[in-house]
Amino acid sequence: MSIAVGQLAPRFSLPDTDGAPHSPGGAPATVVVFTCNHCPYALAWHERLLEVADDYADRGVRMLQICSNDAERYPQDSPEAMRERVREEGGWPTPYLHDATQEVARAYGALTTPDVFVLDAERRLRYRGAPDGDHMHPAQNAAWLRAALDELLAGDPVSQPETKPVGCSIKWRP
């Protein structure tokens, strides 16, 4: 079951590809993105999400990307493969965290890669869903996520707090 809009999101601490721990909070908004290396939907939206991280960094927004997939059955999503991907892509503007036990994905009720959760300064969920309405069209520019961040940062209620997450299912351990 997923956390509900307005509900306090669970705390977590997960290591990035260099082993440094990261937790949500400490920012006017934190974007938590469940993603992975091998899903075409996650790959299609990836650049758009990194652009959001870049564009909103000076307004204090943090983005944490998390891979929760079962790395034994899907070695493309192993910590080694995550590290290699970040290196090959010349580094990311966001930490890429490994959820080895899948507890964080379960606690958030994440369903797909990608699945986007926007938390406010108190860690309450303000938006959950897809980055925008079409993974195949970069011109969509993560519009749903950007609108949620703009409204949240302006102190307004998020007018579209939920959309349907679209992507590959999270690969749960047996």
Binding site: H38, C39, P40, Y41, L43, A44, H46, R73, Y74, P75, H135, M136, P138, V166, G167, C168, S169, K171
Partner: protein, 115 residues
């Protein structure tokens, strides 16, 4: 409607895994290309791959996989078999959960061409 694929001796298969949401779109696009080429859009063998064992036996590297006359329209090289979504690259470089319709079209045209 005439069984155009059979008429020209082309066997078209779409293999999918239900855990990946892309196969309805892939099937619709495949049928669109078949119709464009004057082939029967209904003449697609749609098969579900439901287990890792099936994936291994089929040489299935991800969903969707389209085969024409038994040949993958985008040979996957050394990709491991398994139940996963398949990553395609369109000709303009974008990542996609479904193959480029141009690739589908060319594979069908090659197969349907007289020897």
């Amino acid at each position: 409607m005439a069984d155009a694929c059979e008429d020209v001796g082309v066997t078209v298969e779409l293999l999918f895994w239900d855990g990946c949401p892309s196969h309805p779109q892939a099937l619709a696009e495949l049928r669109g290309v078949l119709a464009e080429l004057g082939l029967d859009p209904e003449d697609v063998r749609v098969r579900e791959v439901a287990s890792e064992l099936d994936a291994e036996a089929e040489g299935f590297v991800g969903s969707p996989t389209i085969r024409v006359d038994g040949r993958d329209i985008e040979p996957p090289g050394v990709e491991p078999t398994g139940l996963t979504c398949r990553v395609y690259r369109l000709r303009d470089g974008r990542y996609s959960p479904t193959p480029d319709p141009a690739v589908v079209r060319e594979a069908l045209q090659r197969a349907a061409a007289p020897a």
